[in-house]
Symmetry: C2
Subunit: 347 residues, 2 copies
C-alpha cells in the first residue's frame, strides 16, 4: 500500500518534513513498510503544488531553496489551490498540518484539521493551537469519520511523550505529568546561571532565534500553559482552558534569584504540569527552585523533559529536544508510521 | 476477540503479572480493547493450573498466597503438566515467560520461547538470557510461524526502551545507546556517595534484597553486559556475545574514588553502552566519573536510565525503575497489548 500524503504549511517544519521524506524514502519502505506519495503541498506564502501521482520531493526542495516558493514549479497550477479542492482531487490518506498557530483561535489549524478529517483523511499536526483548544471535538470528528488524529510534535517536538504514553505505556494510568516544556525560557534560565541578567539572556535568545521579537508567549508561560492543556486532555481526559492553568512566567526571575538558588544547590526552572484530582485536574506553570537530585535539574539549554507518574511504574522521565526543524518533522513522521501500521497490519 | 494467555514461570514477576491482570481486567478491556483469558500457569515449584475456558485469577492468587503453590487448586491436574501438552490443549495466543534466567545457556527461556513460537503462539519474555544469547534466531522463528516475539522487560523492566525505539521513535536510526542498566550497582554507588565503603554498600544492598548472596552477576557487570548485547542486537542489528563486551565491574571502585569524583563535581556510575561502528558495534560496561550536567548523573538509587543517540532527534534520555514486581509485569502487559493491537486492528 502506498500512503498518500498532503502537507499544509511549508515553513521550517513543513520543509523539514519534505527533506526527511526525501532522504529516508528507502529506509522507510524497507524498515517500516511505509511507502508514500506526497500528493500536494500547500502554503499561504510559498504557493501550492499538486500531483495525483506524487510530487518529486527533490524537485520541490530545490524549487524552495532556489526561489523561496513553489509558484514556478511544474506542479504549480496543475490542480486546485483551495484545501477542499485539494482534498477532493488528491484523496490523501493523511494530511499533515504544520502552519503557524494562533493559541486563541486555534486557526488555521482548526479549519485545516477539521476539513481533512471530514474528507476522510487522517490528520497529523505539529501545532498546539487547535489541539490545545479542542482536542475532544477533533478526536470525535476523527472517530466519526473512521480516521486518526495525531499530534506528537505539539509537545516536546518529536521527543516521544504523547506516543510514549499511548504505546509503550499502555496498561498504565497516569496521575501526574510535569516538566520543562518551553525551550526558550529554559535556555534563558540556563544562561542566567552562567551570570547573565534577564535582559541579556532574552537578547541572546532572540539573537539565536530561540525567542521571538515579542517574547510574551514564552516568557509569560502561555506556550507552556497550552502544552499543559494538551497533556491534561490527552493523559487524564480533562480538557482545560488556558486561563484555567495557574500561570506565572519568568519575567519576575532575577539574576539574584538564580544565584541564590545555586547557593543552596538548586536551579530555577519554569515547571509546567498537571495532576489528576478525581475527575478534574490541577494545572500550573511556575518558576520553581528544583533540587539537583531532581531529574529536571540537569535539563539545560533548549532541551525539554517531562516526568510522568504512573500506577504501574512510578515515575518515568523522558528528555530530548523541544523544538527544531527535523526534530519536529520526526514527530509528524512517527505519527504517520503509526497510523499506517494500524491501518494495514492485520496478521 | 479474547486473547488466550499462558504463563510459564510464576515467581515474583509471574505473580505480579497475574495480580495486574486481575486488578486491571475492566480497565484493559475498556481502554485498550484488551480482553483476555488466562488459560494456564505453569511453574517449576508452584505447580501447574489449566483451564480451557480461563482461570479465575483471584482464586489463583489466593491459592498462591495461602499455600505458596497451586497444587491444591481446583484447576490443578485438569490438564497436561508439560509445556508441549499445555500449548496443544490450551492453544494460547500469547505465552509469557518469566522463569529465572541463566545467562550462559539462556535456559529455561530458550526452550520455552522456542516451543511457544513453534506452536504458533506469540511469546513475551521478561528474562534476559535467551534474548541476549540468540535474539536473531528467536525472531526468525517468530517470523516463520507468523507470530510475534517481544521482550520490553528484559532491559529497564517496564520502563519503555525497546518499545520506545520500535514505536514512537520509528523513522529514526540509532547510532548509540548508553546508560545505567543495573540497579544494584547504581544503588551501591549512590550509597558510597553518602559515605559508605564498598563492603558496607554491598551488605546493605543484600539486606534490602537488591543484591543476591553471590553478587558477581551485578558487581562484575555481567548483567549489564547481557543488556548491552540486547540493545546492540535490537537497535543496530549487531549480535554480540557477552564476552565481546569490554567489561569492568565496580569491585575496584573505592570510597576514595567516589569522594574524589565528588570533589571535581562528578559522580561515578557504572555505564553500559554500545555504539554502531559501520556494520559492527563497540560495546562496553565500565565505571565512569560523569559530570553533573550529564542526564545520567542524577539517576540515583535503583533507578535506571538510557540515553540514545538518533539521527532525527539527537539525544533522547529515558529514566525509570529498572526492576520490581509490578514494574516488570507492566513491560509484559505492554508487549501483550501491542501484539494484540497489531493482530486485530485493521480499520
Amino acid at each position: 500500500m502506498v500512503t498518500r500524503i498532503g502537507l499544509v504549511g511549508c515553513g521550517t517544519v513543513g520543509t523539514g518534513l519534505i527533506e526527511m521524506l526525501d532522504r529516508k524514502r528507502d529506509f522507510l519502505r524497507e524498515r517500516h513498510n511505509f511507502d508514500f506519495s506526497l500528493v500536494f503541498v500547500s502554503d499561504a506564502i510559498k504557493g501550492t503544488v499538486f500531483s495525483k501521482t506524487g510530487l518529486d520531493t527533490a524537485e520541490i526542495l530545490k524549487e524552495i531553496a532556489a526561489r523561496g516558493g513553489m509558484f514556478e514549479s511544474r506542479y504549480a497550477g496543475n490542480g486546485p489551490d483551495k484545501l477542499e479542492g485539494l482534498l477532493r482531487e488528491a484523496r490523501p490518506d493523511i494530511v499533515c498540518e504544520a502552519a503557524p498557530t494562533d493559541y486563541k483561535t486555534g486557526e488555521p489549524g482548526m479549519t485545516i484539521l477539521s476539513s481533512a478529517l471530514k474528507a476522510g483523511a487522517s490528520a497529523v499536526t505539529s501545532s498546539k493551537g487547535a489541539i490545545g483548544l479542542n482536542m475532544a471535538g477533533l478526536k470525535k470528528l476523527a472517530i466519526e469519520n473512521g480516521v486518526h488524529l495525531r499530534f506528537e510534535s505539539s509537545v516536546l517536538s518529536g521527543t516521544p511523550l504523547i506516543n510514549l504514553v499511548r504505546g509503550p505505556l499502555a496498561g498504565c494510568s497516569l496521575s501526574k505529568a510535569e516538566g520543562i516544556v518551553n525551550g526558550t525560557t529554559n535556555y534563558m534560565l540556563t544562561r542566567m546561571e552562567a551570570g547573565l541578567g534577564y535582559d541579556e539572556a532574552l537578547e541572546e535568545a532572540q539573537r539565536l532565534g530561540y525567542a521571538e521579537a515579542d517574547p510574551t508567549g514564552d516568557v509569560e508561560g502561555f506556550d507552556a500553559a497550552v502544552k499543559v492543556c494538551i497533556m491534561s486532555a490527552e493523559f487524564f481526559g480533562v480538557e482545560l482552558r488556558v486561563d484555567e492553568v495557574r500561570r506565572t512566567g519568568i519575567t519576575g526571575v532575577t539574576a539574584a534569584d538564580v544565584a541564590n538558588a545555586a547557593k543552596s544547590g538548586r536551579r530555577i526552572k519554569l515547571i509546567a504540569g498537571a495532576s489528576r484530582e478525581g475527575g478534574s485536574a490541577a494545572a500550573y506553570v511556575e518558576p520553581r527552585a528544583v533540587d539537583l537530585a531532581n531529574p529536571l535539574a540537569s535539563v539545560s539549554g533548549a532541551t525539554n523533559a517531562v516526568s510522568i507518574v504512573t500506577d504501574n511504574l512510578g515515575e518515568i522521565t523522558i528528555s530530548g529536544p523541544g523544538a527544531g526543524k527535523k526534530e519536529t518533522a520526526q514527530g509528524i513522521l512517527s505519527d504517520m508510521i503509526d497510523i499506517v501500521s494500524m491501518r494495514y497490519q492485520s496478521g
